[in-house]
Each structure stands twice: as structure tokens, then as C-alpha cells.
Amino acid sequence: MRELWEIFVSFFKMSSVTFGGGYAMLPILQREIVDGKKWMTEERIIDYYAVSQGLPGIIAVNVAIFIGKERKGIAGGIAGALGIVGPCLFIITFIAAFLSNFQDNPLVRNAFAGIAVCVSALILNSVIGLWKKGVVDKTGIAVFAIVFIGMMATGLSPIVLIVASAIFGIVSRKIAGGGSR
């Protein structure tokens, strides 16, 4: 029980000081888990990161579950996940409650109108980053185009498009690999 609490507190602390999640958490994990608690090696954490990116869900949460589970089984994994989620619940609830009282305030409305432009640019920036990493050939461009149009022009759920593209990936690679083998 004490160790579960320790896992929870550790991840709670780390989540409170990480802005943005994902890879932003890596140096913080290293300091807390590798240097501080000496729970595991840095290589182990990087492995967990690599696998977590390939799994559904929020990357930082997946990493926390991996680490927690290695320490204390499934209960440890749950403690890690709850630790990550804890600060979000407090901070976001507080901000959302605050903003719902001020959403008609002209200052707040103008600020968010400016921020919306910024968010648009941030999203475009991350699309470019993802494009460079993920769209590597003509097939990739075709998948991108089909999904883009599918999402824009039809009411299809993103789930359908994700499942279809995963199946497409398997089928097309199997066919490509089958010829050379």
C-alpha cells in the first residue's frame, strides 16, 4: 500500500510540472524515476515511451501505467495513471469553473479570439511535423488524401477511418512483402 501511494504521488508531482505531456515528460521522468527513486534505467523508460506511442490512448498515461505495473502489478499501473490524471482534474476544473463565469467578458472574448488563431497555427505546425514523420511515400499521400476528404466531406466517424487505414496498412504491406519473399 505504501508503495502504491508512492507511485501515485510521484506521477502526480510529475504531471503537475509537465506542460503538454508526451515527450515533454521524458526529462522529468528521468530525473524522478531514474535519478531520484532509482526504480529503473533510462533505457527502460525510453523503451516504454516507444511502445506507448504505438498504443491507443494518451502517451504519458501509457508510460505511467507501464512503470507503475513494473513496480507493483496492475494496482501499481492504476496508481500511476491516477497520479497523472489527478492534477488535471483539479486545475482544469478550477479553470473551467472560472471561465464559465467570465465567458461574456469582452477581455476574455478578445483574448480567446486571438488564442484561436494561435491554436490554428499550432495545429498546422503539428500536421507538418506528423506529415514529415508519417507520410513517406505515394501510398501515404493517397491515404492522407482519402482520410482528409473522408473526414471533411462525409459524416464518417474517425474510428471508422482509423480502423480502415490500419487494415489497409496490413493488407498493402503483406502484398508488398509477399512478392519478395
Binding site: F19, L55, I58, C88, L89, A116, L130, M151, I162
Partner: protein, 189 residues
């Protein structure tokens, strides 16, 4: 019941979101269209708040949506819904870590998935750009195409995009700057 629906919707998002925080945006857009719980414009606010506060973006967005739909308990339930698939999936995969890492099947899946996720986020981004940069209301009132583009916002979009690419600072810096610009130039009017 609203709590059950909230839990179910975020369980689905937790099960199918691959590729980090921004990848939840297309799902939130879909959720906005299918439930009417919040507007597309609200998603941009949410992204900004999630980027500017501690904690993973996806979790922050779940808490934010949940709170706005059904109060404090709503925030907790949406967040738990998002996390529960991870607990199950990671628990299963951790037993086969090496096999998962070296599996060609996983690699094949991602061959299709990476461009698809990019396309999904791009499509959701177009919607958000449309609301953030274009003046739909004025266009509807006048039906004049020249009124559709809010040139101040379009110009600022180009500037802030350049700054993001050029300086690669943390998003919070750009969000803070944009709040000041929005107030200084009365962007909401």
C-alpha cells in the same frame, strides 16, 4: 443518462486515439457534431487551455469537456473513460513487450495509420482555422465574399505561424502572446 454517455464517448476516444494529444481533436470534432455538447469554436479554447496548463493535453481536454457537459463529476467520469482502455491495453502488452516492439504486424498497421492520423488532424484543423480566421457571421449577413476573410486575423495567422516555425518555443509562449494581441486589436469584434 448523461454520465453513462459521457463515459462511453470518452472510452471510445481512449480506445482509438493514437498519436498523442492533438490526435484527440478529430474525435472531439466528431463528438461536437454528434452530440451538440459544445461548438467547434470551443475546441480551439480547449486546446489552448490544455496546452497552457500542466498535464497531458488529451487528459486536460477530457476533463474540460466533461466539466462543461456535466459538472465536476462529469469531468472525472470523462477522464476515467479516457484512461481505462489504456490500463487494460498496457497491462496486456507489458507481458509481450519485446514481441510487440519487433512485430512486423505493428509496423504494417502504422504504415497505414500514420498518414491517416495526419489526415484526420489536418481535416479537424481546417474546421478550426475556418472558425478562428474567417468571419462567418459577417459573411452570412452581407453575403459578400470579401467579408468572409478577416484580414487582421489572417495576417496574424501568418505571423504567428512563422514565429512558431522559426523559434520553436513552448506553445504556452505563443498562446500568451496571442491573448495579448487578441485583446490589443479587439479580435472578437
Amino acid at each position: 443518462m448523461i454520465f453513462a454517455k459521457l463515459f462511453y464517448e470518452f472510452l471510445k476516444i481512449g480506445l482509438f486515439t493514437i498519436g498523442g494529444g492533438m490526435a484527440t481533436i478529430p474525435f472531439l470534432q466528431d463528438l461536437s457534431e454528434s452530440t451538440g455538447w459544445f461548438s467547434i469554436a470551443f475546441i480551439a479554447d480547449m486546446v489552448a487551455i490544455s496546452e497552457s496548463t500542466p498535464g497531458p493535453i488529451g487528459i486536460n481536454m477530457a476533463t474540460y469537456v466533461g466539466y462543461n457537459v456535466a459538472g465536476i463529476l462529469g469531468g472525472i467520469i470523462a477522464t476515467l473513460g479516457l484512461v481505462i482502455p489504456s490500463i487494460i491495453i498496457v497491462s496486456v502488452v507489458s507481458g509481450y513487450l519485446e514481441r510487440f516492439r519487433n512485430s512486423p504486424l505493428v509496423e504494417y498497421v502504422f504504415y497505414g495509420l500514420r498518414p491517416a492520423v495526419t489526415g484526420l488532424i489536418a481535416a479537424a484543423g481546417v474546421e478550426i482555422v475556418r472558425i478562428a480566421v474567417l468571419d462567418n457571421e459577417l459573411y452570412k449577413a452581407t453575403n459578400n465574399l470579401r467579408d468572409l476573410l478577416d484580414w487582421r486575423k489572417a495576417l496574424y495567422f501568418v505571423i504567428i505561424f512563422y514565429l512558431i516555425r522559426r523559434f520553436k518555443r513552448h506553445p504556452v509562449a505563443y498562446i500568451g502572446l496571442s491573448a495579448i494581441i487578441g485583446i490589443a486589436f479587439g479580435f472578437a469584434n
